[in-house]
Amino acid sequence: MSEPLIPPKKKDPLLNTRAGHVPPALRSRAAKAMAARAGQGRFVLQACEDCAHVTYPPRDRCPKCWGALTWQDQPRGAVIEAETTIKASTDLFFRNHLPWRIGSARLDAGSMAIVHLHGDVNQGDRVRMEIKLDRGGNPALFALPEKETLNMADDPQLRVFTADPKYRRILVTDGRGPVGQAVAEALVKAGAKTVFLGNNDRLMRYPGQEQIEAMEGIEPVPLSIADSRSTEALAAQLGGRVDIVVNTAQHTRGGGVGFGGKLSDLQTGLDLEVSGLMRLAQAFAPAMSGRSDDGTNAAAAFVDVASIFGLSGKAGYAGAAAAAAARLSLIAGLRGEMAQTGIRVMSVLTGPIDDAWHQDIPPPKTAPVQIARAVVSALQQGQETICAGQVAKEIFGRWQADPLLTIREETQ
């Protein structure tokens, strides 16, 4: 079992904050390809197209026959052959996290790997492997106990590779809609200390207000990310104690490009979803970056909930799809910037949400609670990209296999 996390005490303002170093980030292109897949929660290794030999560390040709290699999902089992506890390191990040346990793992898939060890894993054990992303976005093989153990997620080494909501303070940008409310509730249930829930118009009541605001751990805050001053004011007030940001802002209006779309809807959508994302990032990212290694409630993640149609476009929802596309592009850029400071940037991709703004789309649609589940899961797993609901999964699968075909299918 792991020692349960202790709720962090109020921070002593006189103490110097531990600098958020990132482990060495130099990687081969092959290792980056591994990261791209690991970010989706997959356990992949390279296999040879000719002889099917599975190889690790990442290579550029097969060591058995020099054939070409492709990334393929692999069995997750392994045995720990040897272990060590590192008590001295020259790296600025790991020095602050010693002792650190690693092992030599014999992967069921067929090769050896040096891996991070969960505290409940010992030499000789059978383990379940995951490829996590480290604070710099690079792939990291992590050996977990084969079966769930007590307080497993509280393991100090594992927590470095996740953004688990437990004891963290989280800002959810839009509490007026069903998605924001579902996300806030799920985060509280997942152990968040506080969820600051944004409300862009305190004079107007909204459905579900009494229930959500009465929930323990929910703290309503004034926030309109369409307004720079509002965003900056909130950041000035609590930027230093927000550990995770979840942006749930949406402005979906139907309409085409040449037919039926309103320019004003597009402009409003772009301002809220795209400019709003940048306002949010510029207001909160610097303070979060300064606290990325600040103990149990270190700043950890920036999550953006956007429509899967940002990848493919969508007939009848051209403006909303365009805003989502711009959001995905900004998020990719932000991910690169935050990788230098140890903050994870995550995308939750949704299908058409089951709300009043997607009435024309036949089911299945994505329920707010599915989105909430995906947000919590991405944070707990440290996953970079996650699909909420079956529609998003299905489109994402098609898009990965053939992006141009998927764009055609969704827009014609």
Binding site: P23, Y56, P57, A82, A88, F93, W100, I114, Q123
Partner: protein
């Protein structure tokens, strides 16, 4: 098996040079290399124009290879080579230079390794050490080689029943040997208790299992017997050598090195056996690798290691003098020069010009190299047997 290896007639080894090490140095690898060449020149009277072969090893000469070094040092060789194999570079330089001299591609080859150790250069060197280590080793806690060898040691101790007490005997003996070497960085005796009670660096690797990275340079000359006579130099002959890389990739955790593939050829070529060696100069960056070599080179089997270590004395007057200058563990590890000091020290013992105490009547030295933990194990191995030919 491959075609029979031809003997090294017509090539001899001479003029061992060790430039005194420094824990940290603001100078460059070029400075240390030049200092070693200067020492060779002082010992032999040879000038830059007299060397027509140059064999070079270094980790810290970046961005220069042997090419940059040749121009930097004012050499104009007709044969040159760059050996990037760290702990195996001395044996490899020796074999390559000997073949070049034997066939006449060169007459006088300077084999030189030089490395500096600036503040923080060790960490920087690790960060970009190799493609596999950058992708798949060092990001795992960044324990450096200590952590990688800890995994090898952990497995080796369990597999063969070797204990920390066995490693202690090797390390303590090497420290005893170092005390007579005025150039060794470690100058205080090491007791068994100190070794056993040392702080853990990366279990089961403890403080005195680790070398001290430092700056330094080592060099020797390979030439013809005629040229050595003309220069008035004592010489050794090369009785046999082997080299092997990336052996046994199927082993889960490394328990053996490439020596095992070719060791019978080595002893057959030399016409002698382990019992005939007056000393063993083995790669010792972690005592587990010394133990591995004792078995792989034929002194005993792996399971007999604890008994063999108990029954032998590894000090200079002992039954198997081991790393008589103190080795890297006690003399210091000057980068790639750490892979040359086994050659220079073995040579000095059989040419009877040691830095410290002399092994009485020493005539034969076994040199063993091990290098480059590219991912999870050492990839390069080599060994050579040197025999005293002429003392002048």
């Amino acid at each position: 098996m491959s075609a029979r290896v031809k003997p090294y007639d017509g090539a001899v080894v001479c003029a061992p040079v060790t430039v005194p090490y420094a824990r940290f140095s603001p100078e460059s690898a070029h400075w240390w290399t030049g200092r070693a060449l200067q020492a060779l020149s002082q010992q032999t009277g040879l000038k830059p124009g007299d060397f027509d072969g140059f064999c070079f090893a270094s980790f810290s000469s970046v961005p220069d290879t042997v090419v940059g070094m040749v121009q930097h040092m004012g050499l104009s060789p007709r044969w040159m080579d760059h050996i990037p194999t760290g702990g195996a570079s001395g044996v490899m330089a020796l074999r390559r230079a000997a073949r070049a001299v034997q066939v006449g591609d060169a007459e006088v080859v300077a084999c030189v390794s030089g490395d500096t150790n600036q503040i923080d250069s060790f960490r920087q060197g690790l960060t970009g050490f190799s493609r596999f280590s950058q992708d798949a080793t060092y990001p795992y806690g960044f324990g450096g080689p200590n952590a990688t060898f800890a995994l090898i040691t952990d497995n080796f101790m369990r597999e063969f029943g070797v204990s920390r007490e066995d490693f202690a005997k090797l390390c303590v003996a090497q420290r005893t040997n170092a005390l007579s070497n005025p150039l060794a960085l470690m100058k205080k005796p090491l007791s068994f208790e100190q070794y056993v009670n040392a702080r853990a660096i990366s279990d089961p690797v403890h403080l005195f299992d680790c070398v001290m990275p430092c700056a330094g340079a080592e060099a020797f000359i390979v030439t013809t017997p005629e040229k050595a006579q003309e220069l008035g130099l004592s010489v050794a002959r090369i009785a046999g050598t082997i080299e092997r890389h990336n052996a046994y990739p199927e082993d889960a955790v490394q328990t053996r090195g490439g020596w095992g593939c070719d060791i019978d050829e080595l002893w057959a070529a030399a016409g002698c056996g382990p019992q005939d060696m007056d000393c063993l100069q083995a790669y010792d960056d972690y005592p587990v690798i010394v133990a591995m070599q004792l078995a792989d080179l034929g002194f005993c089997t792996k399971v007999d290691l604890p008994q063999f270590i108990t029954e032998n004395d590894f000090t200079i007057p002992g039954s198997l003098p081991l790393n008589t200058n103190g080795g890297q563990l006690s003399a210091g590890q000057a980068g790639a020069a750490g892979g040359f000091q086994n050659v220079t020290e073995g040579l000095r013992q059989i040419l009877h010009c040691p830095l410290g105490d002399q092994i009485p009547e020493a005539r034969r030295a076994l040199i063993s190299g091990f290098g480059l933990v590219n991912f999870d194990r050492g990839v390069c191995t080599g060994a050579a047997i040197l025999e005293q030919e002429v003392l002048r």
